[in-house]
């Protein structure tokens, strides 16, 4: 998987023979697969053939911030969930919480419980999806397996059909539970200002309790799979901790009063690259802390820490970029709120040499720690009889004005902010979407990978996989992304010479063989 692979060797030799011809090679990855989102990468060399700058581009935009203007604000939970069909529940929930604030109504206890129960269920389901379907195959099947194998089907073979069935049916059950309360698993409809649309019944509770038991067991099982197939392998650990995947940045996540990770509510906490608390603030202050930078070469905006100012996609102590998602959440918190997860939390940091962990690939493990937490939290809530309290909705009475809602989406902190007229018609909306928080750091990974691997115009095949791996670790969500992030194009690595001419483009065919195409722009 590093350039020590046979394919890599073979290519390096061929490359040396080819001599000057390097400068006429193209290399492509198109599209980057198995991640909820694509991108395009352009690498520019200086005259010495060293990487001058690698650009990560996002080629699509949908403009939700604009076209929600004029819509009735109560439609936001359903409209904004279309930002992302992978984590619709996250957008739905962030929007719903924004509505509570906007209508100045505090949901009754039952409503809060129902919402968080549903949200935990969703987190279990989504993290499962990522580990087994999207990110996992790299490890479970192995990064250098044939691509036709590196997918859920490959996973099925690796873990055995029985366990595979377990995975699939677990996920199906969880999604059925979401539908039971929210109407649909994709784009649910339960969120209303001041509560939820539907009463929670004892029968539902029973089903959730049973599912939660299995979910906890399932999470444990998944961690075991990870132990056996990944942590037990030295080269994987090396890979995870390798420099190319390590960036010192700030980390952001929601925490409860004990600074434990919380997905549904709490304050936003940011820690420095050294792991010190840098800021802790309620979501309503987000605009003081977070800013978005615009580059002409990407439709995506790049989030950074406003007080520090935009310093470009660089890491280190004086960076202003930060990261979100599982690893960031673990880094930004002091622990997990549930026993089993807390144990895993401790093990995670001891194994990886203490807080904060800067290894991007550790996201995969962190995600499983969260999976366990989500399952435990789900179990807690499912046994809480306040779910059944008769009052599950309060009708808002105050005039709507403005509201901010925040949750931890699977892929990171998610903020919705609406401003309406007195009839509750949206005047302005602002959306800080999980993946967008990471876009600067993703760009950084790309730049690093390129710089670390491309020398003297020599473009080793490994650069491709490194970048794909990096991507999957972030699990950038195409969909969230597509509100202002890529929808359909593929990630391609293109190398330009000093004059900007394309000299190489790298891709791999579906037998896993790397092919090099002569530059068309000769």
């Amino acid at each position: 998987m590093t350039d020590a692979t046979t394919a890599g060797k073979a290519w390096s030799q061929a490359a040396k023979k080819a001599g000057e011809q390097y400068l006429h090679r193209r290399i492509t990855i198109d599209p980057v697969t198995r991640l909820e989102g694509h991108g395009k990468i352009e690498v520019f060399l200086n005259d010495a053939g060293e990487v001058d700058r690698a650009y990560f581009q996002v080629p699509e935009l949908r403009g939700f911030e604009k076209f929600v203007q004029g819509r009735p604000v109560e439609e936001m939970p359903q409209i904004t969930s279309r930002i992302c069909g992978v984590c619709p529940t996250a957008h739905h929930m962030a929007a719903t919480k924004a509505l509570d604030a906007l209508y100045h109504v505090e949901p009754p206890e039952a409503a809060k419980k129902i919402r968080e129960l549903l949200y935990s269920t969703f987190m279990v389901e989504d993290h499962t999806l990522h580990f087994y379907y999207l990110g996992g195959p790299d490890f479970v099947v192995g990064p250098d397996a044939a691509p036709s194998q590196r997918n859920i089907l490959g996973v099925i073979q690796a873990v055995g059909i029985e366990n595979a069935k377990k995975v699939i049916s677990m996920r199906r059950r969880l999604r059925e539970l979401i539908a039971l309360v929210g109407g649909k698993p994709v784009h649910p409809v339960f969120g209303l200002p001041g509560g939820v649309a539907k009463r929670f019944t004892p029968d539902m509770q029973k089903q959730f309790q049973e599912a939660a038991e299995d979910a906890v067991a399932f999470a444990a099982f998944t961690l075991k799979v990870f132990d056996d197939l990944v942590l037990s392998k030295r080269e994987y650990l090396e890979l995870i901790t390798s420099a190319d995947y390590t960036h010192r940045t700030y980390y952001m996540g929601l925490v409860d009063d004990e600074n434990h990770v919380n997905f549904y509510d709490g304050n936003i906490r940011i820690v420095t690259p050294d792991g010190q608390e840098w800021k802790k603030f309620p979501a309503t202050d987000y605009a003081e802390v977070i800013a978005e930078h615009v580059e002409p070469w990407s439709y995506a905006k790049f989030c950074y820490l406003k007080p520090l100012g935009w310093k470009g996609c660089t890491d280190g102590n004086d960076t202003s970029i930060y990261s979100v998602a599982p690893l960031a959440r673990l880094n930004a918190s002091d622990g997990m709120a549930t026993p089993l997860a807390q144990e895993q939390y401790r093990r995670f940091f001891t194994t990886l040499g203490g807080k904060p962990v800067h290894h991007t690939l550790a996201n995969h493990w962190a995600r499983l720690v969260e999976l366990l937490y989500a399952a435990e939290r789900m179990r807690e809530l499912a046994h809480d009889d306040r779910l059944l309290a008769p009052e599950y909705r309060l009708l808002p009475t105050a005039l709507p004005t403005e509201g901010v809602g925040v949750v931890e989406a699977p892929r990171g902190t998610l903020i919705h902010h609406y401003h309406t007229d007195e009839h509750g018609i949206v005047l302005r909306a602002n959306l800080i979407v999980a993946t967008q928080n990471n876009s600067a750091r993703i760009a950084l990974s790309v730049d690093k990978a390129a710089k670390g691997l491309i020398h003297g115009g020599d473009v080793p095949e490994a650069v491709l996989n490194k970048i794909e791996m990096a991507f999957r670790a972030y699990d950038p969500c195409n969909a969230c992304a597509t509100h202002a992030f890529p929808g359909d194009t593929g990630l391609g690595v293109r190398v330009h010479d000093g004059k900007g001419n394309v000299i190489a483009e790298l891709r791999r065919d579906h037998n896993g063989q790397v092919t090099k195409n002569r530059s068309v722009r000769r």
Binding site: A287, E402, H417, H419, R428, N430
Partner: protein, 172 residues
């Protein structure tokens, strides 16, 4: 500004056909009142603008909002609906149903960028031949002034002035 109407104008190659813009109006008249009134205008040899084409329906209640949109979509510069006066519907209430639809449809098509003068509802009884003349002439005049159905002027993209930025910050 909706760009919905934009290519509508493309669907109307009027300029190509005749240099002077002649609006095209599709009218939906109910058999019992307004169509009769138009006949009366004819038998009375009243003269009015030749820009209107009448489609006869039994009752203004039959007019499906789809018909109005289809007319605009196919290149009409205006749509006129004529029915019996309130209380006079030959079918008792059809014209009220027409009225309800038209009131709602007006809001929709105006939001989609079609000027309100392009879509008109008139109550004209079988006896009001002259009203047909007056209404049609008036509508055609207004449409001449409006010109062909087309996209409104686009707001040119511009950065916000510092003041406006201020406002934004304060507002939100």
């Amino acid at each position: 500004m909706p760009d919905v109407s934009s290519n509508l104008s493309q669907a109307v190659p009027l300029e190509a056909e005749q240099p002077a813009f002649e609006p095209r109006v599709v009218a939906f008249f109910c058999t019992w009142c307004t169509y009769m009134a138009a006949d009366l205008a004819g038998t009375s040899r009243m003269k009015y603008a030749p820009n209107v084409r009448v489609i006869r329906v039994m009752c203004s209640g039959r007019i499906d909002p789809q018909f109005v949109l289809a007319a605009f979509a196919n290149g009409a510069d205006g749509v006129l609906i004529g029915g019996c006066h309130p209380g006079d519907c030959h079918y008792q209430e059809g014209n009220y149903n027409c009225l309800r639809r038209v009131r709602l449809l007006k809001r929709v098509i105006e939001e989609l960028g079609i000027e309100e003068d392009r879509f008109r509802l008139e109550w004209i009884s079988a006896a009001e031949g002259d009203r047909v003349r007056v209404v049609i002439n008036d509508m055609v005049e207004k449409l001449r002034a409006l010109g062909p159905l087309q996209m409104k002027k686009e707001v040119p993209l511009r950065p916000l002035s510092p003041e406006e930025h201020e406002l934004q910050e304060v507002a939100v």
